[in-house]
């Protein structure tokens, strides 16, 4: 059922989810990029 509460909650969950996925995407690519360029970097 589409209520103001449920839609509000969904919008908040979507926003948080996209922010988390943005951070994880950037960090995982950065890690792999560094690994590719400097294989034994610490």
């Amino acid at each position: 059922e589409c209520t103001v509460d449920s839609v509000s909650q969904d919008i908040l969950d979507n926003l948080l989810s996209s922010m988390i996925q943005d951070i994880v995407a950037k960090e995982s690519v950065k890690f792999k990029q560094l690994k590719a360029r400097y294989p034994d970097y610490k």
Partner: protein, 88 residues
């Protein structure tokens, strides 16, 4: 109906306001930094960075870390915009 509501929020510029306000609150809470650190710890400990695997571990914890204050404020802001839309 839900898609229409979201589309209207985007059109009116209010979706961006909600997103910016949530972003500013999370920054004030230091939440983004914590999620970033958590992600790096997970990647280092498993020594692999497969996005899907890392996300499955991180997303639930990151959602937990959002302060109730930030949740309540943002929900209140979204509801206020939705009330407007529902009326019109």
């Amino acid at each position: 109906l839900k898609a229409q509501i979201q589309s209207y929020l985007v059109e009116s510029g209010n979706y961006e306001k909600i997103s910016n306000a949530l972003n500013d609150k999370l920054l004030q809470d230091g939440w983004a930094d914590k999620v970033r650190d958590l992600t790096m710890q997970e990647i280092r400990s498993s020594n692999q960075a497969n996005y899907k695997d890392v996300l499955e571990k991180i997303e639930p914890q990151a959602l937990e870390m959002v302060s109730q204050n930030t949740r309540d404020d943002t929900l209140a802001q979204i509801k206020a915009f939705l009330e407007d839309i529902v009326e019109t």
